[in-house]
């Protein structure tokens, strides 16, 4: 597996270079009187190789936006493209790796077989040995190389989530879509996972879009944070985080970090106000 050298990331606002793009995306869910516009007029351009966080209050539709990007929810207006393709088509071509809050591992398979599962189904060209080799490499990447034979119930919550990340990476996707992947973990494990994820991102060069409601997590991880508001769910502001990668622990104490946190907190206060008199 080629591990690209650590490289500093510059956020590229250039829309032409965007790997993932939404144009006037709206999503309406529910039937009859329960019908509700969850997302309204979202324009998003995520450059290749970026680490983007979506943050916002509950009910702002950040998970729905992520699902729309992954092809799990269809737009009711506007369009979404991943590398120029419909998201569902991109997913079938193994270009999208999904990680949810729950690791969703199969309890009857060990870590290695869980990691190999999706790739094995989506890609019949690999032999069993190649598949296992790849799964083992991904487990090594998430620092679980020696836990390959262990079943999910023998792993901690953080380790299970690492397996889920390895499973997504085993697809060799262009983009990782992560829906509050560390939401169910304790604070100490969260910090360790954040550090690992940055490391994995820099080593693999994947584009990552991560939904969170932790301000600190968003500032620490992302090159670009999209702040979402409610009723209807929309992007109210995009914040560029001017901290260079790799971000060591010293970054957390820097003035820029504190500044970005304060700015984000102020934006999130705004985000609770419904827009356009709806």
């Amino acid at each position: 597996m080629p591990l690209s050298a650590l490289r500093p990331m510059e956020p590229k606002p250039d829309r032409a270079a965007a790997l993932i793009r939404t144009e006037a995306l709206s999503v309406t869910l529910g039937r009859g009187t329960g019908r509700q516009e969850i997302l309204h007029d979202i324009d998003l351009a995520v450059p290749e190789g970026a680490f983007v966080c979506l943050i916002g209050p509950s009910g702002c539709g950040k998970s729905t936006l992520l699902k729309a990007l992954g092809g799990l929810v269809l737009p009711s207006a506007g369009r979404v493209t991943v590398a120029g393709l419909e998201p569902a088509e991109a997913a079938r071509r193994r270009m999208i790796g999904l990680v949810f809050q729950d690791a969703n591992l199969l309890p009857w398979k060990n870590a290695l077989d869980n990691v190999a599962l999706l790739r094995g189904i989506a890609d019949k060209s690999l032999s069993r040995a190649e598949l296992r080799e790849r799964a083992q490499a991904m487990l090594d990447l998430v620092e679980l190389g020696d836990a390959a034979r262990r079943r999910p119930h023998e792993l901690s919550g953080g380790m299970r989530q690492r397996v889920a990340i390895a499973r997504a990476l085993a697809l060799d996707p262009a983009v990782l879509l992560m829906d509050e992947p560390f939401g169910a973990l304790d604070a100490i494990t969260r910090d360790a996972m954040s550090r690992s994820l940055l490391d994995i991102w820099q080593r693999t060069g994947k584009t990552i879009i991560l939904v969170t409601h932790s301000i600190e997590e968003a500032v620490y991880l992302a090159s670009e944070v999209h702040v979402m508001g409610i009723r209807p769910g929309r992007i109210i502001e995009t914040l560029h985080v001017p901290l260079p990668y790799p971000r060591g622990d010293a970054v957390l104490d820097s003035a820029e970090f504190g500044q970005a946190e304060r700015r984000l907190r102020a934006l999130l206060r705004l985000s609770h106000q419904p827009g356009d008199g709806r």
Partner: protein, 269 residues
């Protein structure tokens, strides 16, 4: 139990508390109950036709052993075959219902409707159709025992996390792969719970089947002995039925431990 808590118990618990560990409480209670039974029958000189003393039941067991042993074998065979048929029918129905949506919508209400027919009442009809041998017992056991198998497997297959299904489908996993690679293994712990219920229902089915018409078996022995007012023999046969039932139950549990090691276990942690 982990080693840590076990050693803690050694330190803190007085010696007599050993009696409250493991199987011992159940054994002590059973022994006390049998003793009280024996004493009550002797003290109040209860007629052996009404309630025989435990010692009389053991004597009957000893005296009639050859008859009882062959009756046990006959009934065990009915239970085993009936249970296997119920399991196969129950699992097949659950798979068909989940795999073919339209078939599920057609079948499921009918199965629930059929479940409300008092199946014990079918025993005479099965005798009429299939005669006095093995076949009517297998039929009766199957109609009684397939339902918990189907229901538990359905519940297990439908309780797969929707986001796992979304994940599988996003890479283009087909319905058959989702059924056999995800839903079926996921349902196994619940299926095993259903099979344990089916195991006990199979015993009931065999005995009811023999009551309705048979020339051998423990149910037949119970009926025959009661017409002879040999109540001790009735109880002896009843004891053997219970042993059979418990045996089948633990056989299924043994299979579970081997086949579904990740199943949640009561009384283990």
């Amino acid at each position: 139990m982990s080693l840590g808590t076990a050693s803690l118990a050694d330190v803190e618990r007085p010696g007599w508390r050993v009696a409250t560990e493991g199987w011992l409480p159940a054994l002590i209670l059973a022994f006390a109950a049998v003793l009280a039974w024996e004493a009550a029958v002797r003290v109040f000189s209860v007629s052996p036709y009404i309630v025989p003393a435990p010692s009389a039941i053991v004597a009957a067991l000893w005296r009639e052993w050859p008859t009882l042993a062959s009756a046990t074998l006959v009934t065990a065979r009915e239970i085993l075959i009936g249970f296997v048929v119920s399991a196969v029918v129950g699992i097949a129905l659950a798979l068909l219902i989940v795999r073919f949506d339209w078939l599920g919508r057609a079948l499921y209400p009918l199965i629930v409707l059929f479940q409300n027919v008092p199946k014990v009442a079918l025993a005479p009809i099965f005798i009429l159709w299939f005669g006095y041998d093995l076949a009517p017992k297998i039929g009766l056991i199957t109609v009684i025992a397939f339902f918990p198998v189907t229901l538990s497997m359905l519940a297990g297959m439908e309780s797969v996390d929707p986001s796992l299904l979304a994940l599988m489908r996003s890479v283009g996993t087909g319905a058959t792969d989702i059924l056999f690679k995800i839903r079926v293994p996921h349902s196994l712990p619940q299926l095993m719970a259903g099979l344990k219920i089916a195991a006990t229902f199979s015993v009931i089915g065999a005995i009811v089947g023999e009551f309705a018409g048979a020339s051998a078996g423990l149910g037949y022995t119970i009926q025959f002995a009661s017409t002879q007012l040999d109540t001790a023999l009735v109880f002896a046969a009843l004891a053997l039925v219970s042993v059979l039932g418990v045996g089948f139950y633990y056989l299924v549990e043994l299979v579970e431990t081997i086949a579904v090691p990740w199943a949640p276990k009561f009384n283990r942690d």
